[in-house]
Amino acid sequence: MLRERVRKAITSQPQPVVTVLSSLLAVEDEMGYIPPEAVEEVAEHTQSTVNDVWAVASFYTNFRFTSPMERVVEVCWGPTCHLMGAQEVMRCAQELLGMQGEGDTSDGKVTLKYNTCLGACSQAPVVMADHKLVGRCTPERLAALLRAERTGYHAPGAHS
């Protein structure tokens, strides 16, 4: 099952040039992560070795190797966002999610990620919650984004 999904993702890439990286990106789009089976499948499909594929997968910081959480919250820490108060937003995110840094919550529901630039700098500080950009983010707005009634998710540190 898993391998079939992976194979389908690798073989149905739209562009004519298929490489190790393009195949890994296709798997990431389909699965949300790179399972070990995908490393083997990509190696076979691109006539590379497992080590070649690992070299690429471990280099780019967008790849993850465990299944994705239900929600992803990305907080931008680029210089514009930094000047406009990103540290407070990041601190708030960590507190609400009961975390020490970026990563997955212990209940396996939310991934917190620090992004180097989300490309909407004129709306700094910027957050991307479940692939939706939110500009002029404050700790309050972030808390609202994470609130239970919208998502069914109870942040460990949330009081509401």
Binding site: S22, V50, W54, A55, S58, Y60, G119, C121, Q123
Partner: protein, 590 residues
Amino acid sequence: MTTTGSAPASAYESLRERAQAHWAALESRPLVRVGMDATGRAAGGLDVVASFRTEVASHGLQATVSEVGCLGLCFAEPLVDIKLPGGPRVFYGNVTPAIARELVESCLVKGVHRPDLALGTLGEGPAHGIPRLEDQPYWKLQVRVATRLCGTVQPADLNQYVANGGYAGLAKALAGMTPKAVQDEMTKSGMRGRGGAAFPTGTKWSFLAGARGAVKYVLVNCEEGDPGAFNDKGILEGDPLTLLEGTTICGFATGAVQGYVFIRHGNDGPIEKTRAAIVEARKAGLLGKNIMGSSFSFDIDVALTGESYVSGEETALMEAIEGKRSMPRARPPFPANVGLWGKPSNINNVKTLAYAPEIMRNGGEWFATIGFERSKGTAILCLTGAVKRPGMYEVPFGLKLRDVVDGIAGGSPEGSKVKLLQTGGPLGGVLDARSLDLTLDFETMARAGAIMGSGGIIVGDDRVCAVDLTRNLVAFCQFESCGKCFPCRLGMTNLLETVERICQMQGQAQDLDLMRSIGTTMQAGSLCGHGQLGFNPISSAIRFFEADFRSHIVDRRCPTGSCTAVFLKPTRTRPVATSEWYAKREYAKT
């Protein structure tokens, strides 16, 4: 050329007739345009466009609701413009779904604009007492060439693009010019690369044209990893066909067979818009075999990279397209001779190529009349940070930085003063407020110790600590070092440790000298700009704000109180390749 000389001209003529009919039909009905690039979406544009669609449908109105790119006035996003037949475009800023409902009721149902809500008008026609955008400092100081259609045309809509002058430049080149003449036109224009290096574009194209080989590539760099810059993505999201036409012109001038637009995975807007534009161009015979009936064949594809800042370096970019780790190659050989897959290649920034259609259409001499001394044309600036009107503005070279920061962007918020400018991306430099008197051109900026780079200008006011900002920039450079050259990999780590120490009031007297020594080593011992320029953020900050550093090191005090002891940042640079499950598998043991 002689046998097919007239084919492109007539192909273009029929394209243009169809496009103008389409445009006239579009303008014969009320037209609502909503800015929906990354900035517009971050400001809540999705809800606004949904509201317009719902209201237009529920009133049964004959109006077009179009999602366009960014006009550049990001401060006013979500920005909506409503054009009634025969009237000017009327812009409404910071629109909410509730305001959208009011606007439909008033403008579209009753046909009456709302001066109380409007930002300004653009174009001919009765303005109903609404000020003209052309009279506003943020508009009148601009000269929009590469971004002229961003926010005006629907991205990837070929008819709208052609109706506004699109593909006239390519048609002119194919109908009667030799590749050499196109190169000469670029040289005459004085165009210099907008990716950061400012190399003369005509000369660069001539290198590829002169390289031996049947297969040559044009690579378009839209990696744009610079935090604070979004003009490449802005062009792709606003008007991708300008880039495709420019790339095709470059392909013709250099004798290339294929172009790749290189975009970072995850930038869904630019990726989808570019792919859609490629499909449209192919359908119309503007890409593929015998473009516009000429003997010239050329195609373009999108190539994606993963998240890695160094991917934007020209040789690392080729590694990424080949599917490998994006680490820079040693030069020589240079890409013009040995590039992608060992073939001659030419790497251009999105902005550089986005100028080519207008340069071809209006001539190189026309372009050379805009600008200043050796910096011809315009700069596409992303002004962000502590300014009243952050946005993406295209201005002629030769303005003072003060015109840009105070005039266009409105200066710092009430009650604060501009303290610093961070220009050209994280590897660029920091300037102080006195630098506002500098002229905006490549040479002056470089002499001042900053660079134009990709056009990002981040403004900090007097609440900003230069050391704290430096910590952020150095943390970025450390996080993004690809690791190939140890002076960069270890140097950036050392620099970050030192700056962190200074921010935590643990700095030592010799720290500034220590950092200079590390910086010199990085400059000498790194293959690409990441290591070579990696000390720039610190050296320029020390140059202009040494007092800030001394205050931390000697007085153990941050003058603005912004240096918190704990600085949050990503905690790892690269994931550990041999995770548990990897070690367990059979092949790991052999």
